[in-house]
């Protein structure tokens, strides 16, 4: 496997291929998955629709993974996969795998990647509620001027 694999896909994430990070010099692999949960902010969620600017998004995912390698070791191998489209409760929306010589850098890199994805990746989610209503969730503004607010409400 190359050192970094980044993908935004429509199909279900295959966790078996995510784990193909073998390296004789690595003693640690950390796997993170994020899944759609059934309640959010007091509302019953039946599904989530993810949207993404795919080309830019994959570029951003790879940038984040490269940053993690620069922080915690060029020997790290990182796979990041984010799914788009409609996901039912329980389905995996994002998966991150990190392989490293030791566990400390694997845990740190994994945490870094998911936190940066939430702030920087051009990906959006619309929750679908049991009462039929929908809402695009609050997010982090990417624009670069002072009047943009963090955690701006994007729901319309």
């Amino acid at each position: 496997m190359t050192s970094i694999r980044c993908e935004i896909r429509d199909e279900a994430i295959d966790l078996k291929t995510l784990g193909e990070l073998s390296d004789d010099g690595h003693g640690a692999q950390v796997f993170f998955t994020g899944a759609v949960r059934s309640r959010n902010h007091g509302r019953d969620v039946v599904a989530v629709e993810y949207d993404a600017a795919r080309a830019l998004g994959e570029r951003v995912l790879c940038e984040i993974a490269e940053e993690a390698r620069s922080k915690w070791g060029a020997s790290l191998k990182i796979a990041v996969v984010h799914r788009i489209g409609r996901l039912e409760v329980g389905e995996i929306s994002v998966a991150i795998a990190v392989s490293s010589p030791h566990r400390d850098e694997a845990y740190r890199a994994s945490r870094y990647v998911i936190e940066e994805i939430k702030k920087r990746a051009p990906i959006w989610k619309k929750e679908i509620y049991s009462d039929g209503e929908t809402a695009w969730l609050k997010g982090h503004a990417l624009c670069q001027h002072g009047s943009c607010e963090e955690d701006a409400h994007a729901a319309i």
């Binding site: 570029r59 998911i114 989610k125 695009w136 982090h140 503004a141 990417l142 994007a154």
Partner: protein
């Protein structure tokens, strides 16, 4: 004049008609701030009850490679993306 295509994502999908692309003609020295204003006025005129100006104000303009700074000037036909506040993961 130049032709600018803007792909819509996230909360902007509500405003897509034929595909997720809006097309504009603009002067060939338009910057990001002015483009956002143009986009905001265009959408607001069609959806007067929506808080479009605020949404556009919170959103970034990007090409396929990067988010563009506000002082970026467009001098040729291009395809861009408007990115509302993000929440992946």
């Amino acid at each position: 004049m130049i032709e600018i295509e803007v792909r819509l994502f996230g909360a902007f999908r509500k405003y897509q008609q034929k595909g997720n692309i809006l097309r504009f003609q603009a002067r060939d020295d338009i910057d990001v701030i002015s483009l956002k204003r143009l986009l905001s006025e265009h959408l607001q005129s069609q959806y007067p009850g929506d808080a479009i100006e605020a949404l556009v104000g919170e959103s970034a303009i990007a090409d396929d490679v990067r988010v563009l700074p506000e002082n970026h000037v467009f001098d040729r036909n291009c395809t861009l993306q408007i990115l509302p506040p993000v929440c992946g993961g």
